[in-house]
């Protein structure tokens, strides 16, 4: 299990995709939040976070994801997640993220109709 973490971004017409790689905890989720805010400042209010390469997200990481959702909502944006493991999806639902963000099985279904 690597402790390294990285984010890669890709912008498309009307939305941006952020791909994470590694464990999402407080510090790494802060890095993700900074990336999301940068994209918002560039005019991308619809974001897709692809967690295909992230297997573990702790509760502090999730609390920062909630802050990203709140930030996007304040600016009329929307957050989509894709490629969640069953455990991550269950934790997101438990903590209320699923009520305020869209969850999709993969990137193709997340970006359809955006």
């Amino acid at each position: 299990m690597a402790t390294s973490f990285s984010v890669n971004t890709r912008t498309e017409d009307g939305y941006a995709v952020i791909q994470t790689d590694g464990y999402l905890n407080g510090p790494t989720a802060e890095k993700l939040a900074e990336t999301a805010k940068d994209l918002m400042n560039q005019g991308y209010s619809t974001l897709v976070i692809n967690l295909e390469k992230t297997r573990l997200v702790n509760s502090i990481g999730i609390s920062i994801l909630i802050e990203i959702i709140e930030f996007l909502q304040e600016h009329g944006g929307m957050l989509h997640f894709c490629h969640l493991t069953p455990v991550i999806e269950r934790t997101f639902k438990m903590m209320g993220l699923a009520q305020h963000a869209e969850i999709h099985p993969d990137e193709a279904s997340a970006t359809t109709n955006l």
Binding site: R55, N58, I69, M95, G96
Partner: protein, 140 residues
Amino acid sequence: MAKQVRREVTLNIPIHPNMELVAAHTASIIAEIMDFEETHIDEIQLAIIETCINAFEHSNSEDNKVTVTYVLTDDDLELKITDHGVGFGMDKTEFIDGETRAEAMQKRGWGLEIIREMMDEVKIDSNDGGTTITMLKKRA
């Protein structure tokens, strides 16, 4: 009746960022050896991460370490996470109104609820000499 085989692994981890991953990774290897399915391994890892970060953040432990004991039997994996910190009042362990908290997107204070969701049994012993959380995951 055949006698149960019981194996034990003990790990002392320092209270330091990312050290919870050492405990989680060890749990993952043990659970793989025990043939737990992938989703159950993720559940065990998340439960152990939440328990460790709870101890890291709140125990104020003077010895600055957490002891994790993994007990493997034929039927289940037991995890015992002990700190020698200040303990916490049991009022904080109440399993209250998760739906309302989710509705309001409450950000913090989910650790114990997540642990209870991920594991089959959870027991908390806490006093002013420290806290031990004992968790059990049954083999399907």
